[in-house]
């Protein structure tokens, strides 16, 4: 549900979204779309050589999914800043939840802005990706 800009408040927690278990297909699809063909994300043997139990996901996939979560709540055309920090890796089969809140409503440079804080986390609460976004309200 898009946010009603006239009534938004700082601290508002927005509905979270839990995705079906992460699949290798989703990982490979993102690799194809982004052009990042690091074999650690699709070749188990390669990933194990670097000490991982197997292939793992791309931080930028979950950053992208957080931006998709944001676009459900705020107009995509109005996003002006998006920052993602990659905290932990996710593996195929992980059930990931995307959620966030409005951290601030502020005036700057003659415009009104909404700052969002978001996280993508595993079912056990481990944070995979953190993100921050600024959206131009008016």
């Amino acid at each position: 549900m898009p946010i009603d800009w006239s009534t938004i408040k700082e601290g508002t927690v927005l509905p979270s979204w839990t995705a079906p278990p992460l699949t290798r297909t989703e990982i490979v699809r993102y690799q194809g779309a982004s052009g990042d063909f690091d074999p650690a994300h699709h070749d188990d043997e390669h990933a194990r050589r670097f000490g991982y139990p197997g292939v793992f996901s791309l931080g930028m996939l979950h950053a992208g999914m957080l931006s998709a979560w944001l676009a459900r709540h705020a107009p995509p055309e109005q996003i002006r800043r998006f920052r993602a920090r990659f905290v932990a890796v996710a593996y195929p089969g992980d059930v990931l939840t995307y959620k966030g809140r409005i951290a601030a409503i502020r005036q700057a440079e003659g415009s009104k802005w909404a700052d969002f804080e978001m996280i993508c986390e595993r079912a056990d609460g481990t944070v995979v990706t953190q993100a921050w976004a600024s959206v131009l309200i008016s």
């Binding site: 000490g51 992208g64 676009a71 995509p76």
Partner: protein
């Protein structure tokens, strides 16, 4: 000591914002919004510009024989630590031709919480309009760790 890579700038390249590529990228991240999938000239999802250097140009990860390749840094297992996109006006839309270059802003080492040595590289990629106006900047922090993180 200042790392000699700081200030190294890759050659400019053109990145055309394509409608089909936006659609492919939006679907890969589960962004089903009309602004990406249905309108004639969709805007880019906020992380979309990350593909520019990989597909069309010269990046720290894929220097393709440019001066970026001469940077002395072990790239065997580089991890993305952070990536930021800042837009200085309307978002780029399908059909725009952007002029792009990458610059190494900083290189430094730090001891991690578990005692391992971490090597950081801060990379900035600048996107200009055809008239030379900076419309977006991508800031990337990549890190090389001694051991794989959990």
């Amino acid at each position: 000591m200042t790392h000699p890579a700081i200030g190294v700038r890759g050659p400019k390249f053109e990145f055309v914002v394509e409608r089909g590529k936006i659609r492919e990228f939006a679907q890969a991240i589960g962004a089903e919004h009309d602004a990406y999938l249905s309108v004639r000239d969709p805007v880019v999802p906020p992380t979309f510009l990350t593909i520019a250097g990989r597909l069309w140009g010269y990046t720290f990860d894929e220097p393709r024989g440019t001066c970026l390749a001469e940077i002395d840094f072990d790239r065997s297992l580089l991890l993305n630590a952070e990536e930021e996109f800042e837009y200085f006006g309307d978002l780029p839309k399908a059909g725009m031709r952007l002029q792009v270059y990458t610059e190494i802003k900083d290189v430094y080492e730090k001891r991690g919480k578990r005692g391992g040595l971490l090597s950081f590289v801060i990379i900035e990629t600048v996107f200009e309009s055809e008239t030379g106006q900076v419309i977006a900047v991508q800031r990337q922090t990549v890190v090389k760790t001694e051991t794989a993180p959990g």
